[in-house]
């Protein structure tokens, strides 16, 4: 009798009651003025990275005008293939990677510099491509606390580029703010591993070419800003001579503002502009 009671007690342990049906809501693009920055850590030897790039293109279609992408080629799987014409790695890209931590796998995305908690070890990095859309959507459910605009002027003769970045706050921001200005280049054809096949003329997009601030973000942007306050910062850069890379028509300027919030340096707003429209 006692044994039957014990068996019954153990069986009770197995009884579960969480059966609420899960409804998957229909997708609706969030109505927001926010733009997210996605820093994708990638490499030409990374066989799964084209999957990441496809997903980012998918997200840019899914959330039109709301996703700015920077492709960071650094550390493992990023060294050129034997047939590569270019080495996309830069000292700044690796410094940025080191600043943010090291991705456990590639492709890996940092979305709005926001902690990614699914596994608990990745810190900012999200190596699960299928979850990127949900993370981006979640960030877009908030409105931006600032208006961020950039004016870009490019002199084709001298290849001089000047960028004026203006921030106007929509509410008080009582924390230190940083500015990040990155030059990216798209439509670069060069080999890429793609799920076991080397694609000789793979189109690399949003490749990080230069960071005009420090990799940590320009720390002299603002210690705090009151509602309606405006700050403009200017940056100048001369494009290196064209050598297959640095084709002005494929150069973008990605700008984003970060701020220290709850112990994290999160992105508030992002913007991207082509230097030649």
């Amino acid at each position: 009798m006692k044994n039957i009671f014990v068996l019954f007690a153990f069986s009770l342990l197995m009884i579960t009651c969480k059966n609420d049906p899960i409804i998957i809501p229909e997708f609706m693009a969030p109505q927001t003025d926010r733009v997210v920055i996605v820093e994708e850590f990638t490499g030409v030897r990374c066989p799964n990275c084209p999957k990441g790039q496809r997903e980012l293109e998918n997200l840019q279609l899914r959330f039109p005008g709301k996703v700015v992408v920077v492709g960071v080629h650094s550390f493992f799987l990023a060294n050129p293939l034997p047939d590569s014409k270019y080495d996309f790695r830069t000292v700044q890209a690796e410094a940025l990677n080191r600043h943010l931590g090291i991705a456990g796998s590639k492709p890996s995305a940092v979305v709005n510099r926001t902690e990614f908690d699914l596994t608990g070890v990745d810190g900012l990095f999200n190596g699960q491509v299928d979850t990127w859309a949900g993370v981006v959507e979640s960030e877009l459910e908030e409105f931006s606390k600032i208006n961020l605009t950039q004016g870009v002027e490019y002199n084709e003769a001298t290849r001089e580029l000047s960028i004026d970045v203006n921030v106007i706050t929509k509410e008080d921001i009582n924390t230190k703010m940083y500015i990040n200005v990155m030059i990216t280049e798209s439509e670069i054809e060069d080999p890429q591993e793609d799920n076991g096949v080397e694609i000789e003329e793979y189109e690399h997009n949003h490749v990080l070419r230069e960071i005009l601030t420090t990799v940590e973000g320009g720390d002299d942007f603002a210690n705090s800003m009151g509602q309606g306050e405006s700050i403009t910062k200017s940056f100048n850069f001369t494009l290196p001579p064209e050598d297959g890379l640095w084709r002005a028509e494929h150069i973008d300027v990605a700008v984003f503002i970060t701020a220290d919030i709850d112990g994290e340096r999160k992105a508030l707003q992002a913007s991207v502009a082509k230097i030649i429209e």
Partner: protein, 552 residues
């Protein structure tokens, strides 16, 4: 709060340990024991072997991993505590990760009271072979998925017992969010008196319940899937396992059948449709899973025969669908290949394919007399569509001159689908590896051991030679010099293709009572590191390693 709890528990243990050591012997002072494992790595960049491009090499960093385990038993209770400390460790992420943290990595309180056996805290346990549940620690792969909660076992009678668990799986210094419950009933049935028959049946159940956070993340993923790829996830999953060992004279037959109800897993072979119109490899799916596993062995005098078979389908069982690599394991599926300690023989190891695998292994050993013994091992692993992934034929002949020397020689033929086990697009690797090991004992204390292996292949990094000489002065000293030499490099080899690269190792280890110190200079080629079918690709390493193992 965590620091206060840590301090309190530490004070408790140190008080116990000092009282255990100082009190008069006639008092019931209990028993205190412990173990310390420390390992430190100094990273020295070597671009020639590909030990570069990680932050550790930029600034010649030192990483350390430390585990201090303390045990105390008294008053009918066992207390266990383990302090874990990591400094810039790349163990969790060999690709340049740097993990620093310290704290209590394990604790338990255990007592056996009459028919009850009760444990609170971190629980390591296994049901059957682990197909539906195994919580364990494998430090080399940074796996520690102890169930943090309670375990209750009740002896129904002398032959039967039932146990249950409830808790959450450990992860680093926290837990995974989903709740895990389960248990098993196991017994022993003897044949009639004088019979050679007996059997040990068992039945286990594990239930995992998603937490709200995991479900919200899952819904966020599925919301962004197109209709064609969507499904309705479920909170609960149940995994059942029925297992039995039959002993009949010289035969031993183990069978296990496991089934998992519909669970959300990431199927890398599935295809997802994107909003852009493109297709993307891999997606989350809702599917049941199953494993059938059996092994039968026969042993008689000098002959031992073992046959194993396993069929696995969609049996990824983790805390959350987002766990990857070696994170969040709830179970362990036994591997189906021979484990080898020879460097080149073990260069290509197959990780268990949880999505789908059909595997067989045969192992035949024969000892002709006191001098000669023979071994043949065959294993083959394929997908459920009969695409072969792995095949090995391993032979060994051993000649032993008692008390003087032992000579072992053999040959390995291997086929290994590197594209599946390591990185998509890599070729099928075919190798032939002859090997020789010679152990000579000068006297009871002094010995010399030597290994020679040659791995022949046209794929991967090409062909290798490995040589090792190890001199032992028992019980204290062991000095090892080894070199793995890329004698016929392929275009994929690290460094220039015309350069034949050496990967030397020089190691010294010293034993003092129950303490073992080891210092080694290592150049290690990139490769797969496996423990029991759980594997990961480790990058090349160049540097110095120190390890300390101390038991007290």
């Amino acid at each position: 709060m965590n620091k206060i709890a840590t301090t309190f528990i530490l004070l408790f243990f140190f008080t116990l340990s000092s009282s255990a050591q100082n009190e008069a012997p006639k008092k019931n002072k209990g028993t205190f024991s412990g173990n310390l494992q420390t390992q430190a790595s100094l990273f020295l960049e070597d671009t020639l072997i590909g030990a570069t491009n990680f932050p550790q090499y930029d600034s010649t960093q030192i990483s350390t991993e430390n585990w201090l385990r303390l045990n105390y038993s008294n008053w009918g209770f066992d207390f266990g505590l383990r302090l874990d400390a990591f400094n810039k460790s790349n163990l969790i992420n060999p690709n340049g990760g740097s993990y620093s943290a310290a704290g209590i990595g394990y604790w338990h309180i255990h007592t056996a009271q009459g028919k009850f056996d009760i444990t609170l805290g971190h629980i390591y346990d296994v049901i059957g072979t682990g197909i539906i549940f195994r919580s364990y620690q494998e430090r080399g792969l940074f796996i520690d998925n102890a169930l943090i909660g309670a375990r209750l076992e009740y002896k129904l009678n002398n032959d039967w017992s039932i146990r249950g668990y409830v808790g959450k799986n450990k992860f680093l210094f926290g837990t995974k969010a989903p709740l895990v419950k389960g248990g098993a009933i196991e017994g022993y049935i003897a044949g009639k008196e004088g019979s050679k028959f007996s059997m040990s049946p068992g039945f286990g159940v594990i239930n995992r319940t998603f937490d709200d956070g995991t479900m919200e993340e899952l819904v966020a993923v599925l919301k962004n899937y197109l209709e064609v790829d969507r499904f309705q996830p479920e909170w609960e999953v149940l995994a059942f396992s029925l297992y039995n060992t039959v002993n009949f004279g010289k035969f031993n037959w183990y069978t296990e059948a496991a089934y998992k109800t519909k669970d959300v897993i990431f199927d890398m072979n599935a295809t997802r449709s994107l909003f852009s119109g493109e297709q993307s490899a891999g997606k989350y799916v809702l599917t049941p899973g199953s494993v059938l596993y059996s092994t039968i062995s026969y042993a008689n005098k000098g002959l031992g025969i073992s046959l194993e078979g396993k069929r696995t389908e969609n049996f990824i069982f983790r805390s959350t669908p987002f766990d990857r690599f070696n994170e969040g394991f709830l179970n362990f599926i036994p591997p189906m290949n021979r484990q080898s300690s020879y460097r080149l023989v073990a260069r290509y190891l197959p990780a268990t394919q949880e999505l789908g695998e059909l595997a067989f292994q045969a192992d035949i050993r024969y000892r002709l007399n006191k001098k000669w013994s023979f071994l043949v091992n065959m294993s083959t692993i394929s997908t459920l569509d009969n695409q072969r992934l792995y095949q090995e034929l391993y032979t060994a002949v051993t000649y032993k001159k008692r008390g003087k020397y032992t000579l072992t020689a053999g040959l390995q033929f291997l086929e290994y689908d590197q594209g599946i086990y390591q990185e998509a697009g890599l070729p099928i690797v075919n190798t032939i590896t002859p090997y020789l090991e010679f152990l000579y004992k000068f006297d009871r204390k002094t010995s010399i051991r030597s290994e020679w292996q040659y791995l022949n292949t046209d794929e991967d990094f090409g062909s290798w030679v490995f040589g090792l000489v190890e001199v032992g002065f028992a019980p204290q000293w062991l000095i090892t010099i080894a070199d793995m030499y890329n004698i016929d490099p392929s275009p994929n080899s690290p460094g220039p293709t015309d350069k034949k690269v050496h990967y030397p190792t020089v190691a010294v280890s010293y034993n003092y009572k129950t303490h073992r110190f080891s210092l080694s200079y290592v150049k290690q080629v990139e490769g797969v590191v496996c423990t029991g079918g759980v594997c990961r690709l480790e990058p090349a390493f160049s540097g110095v390693r120190f390890t300390l193992n101390s038991t007290f």
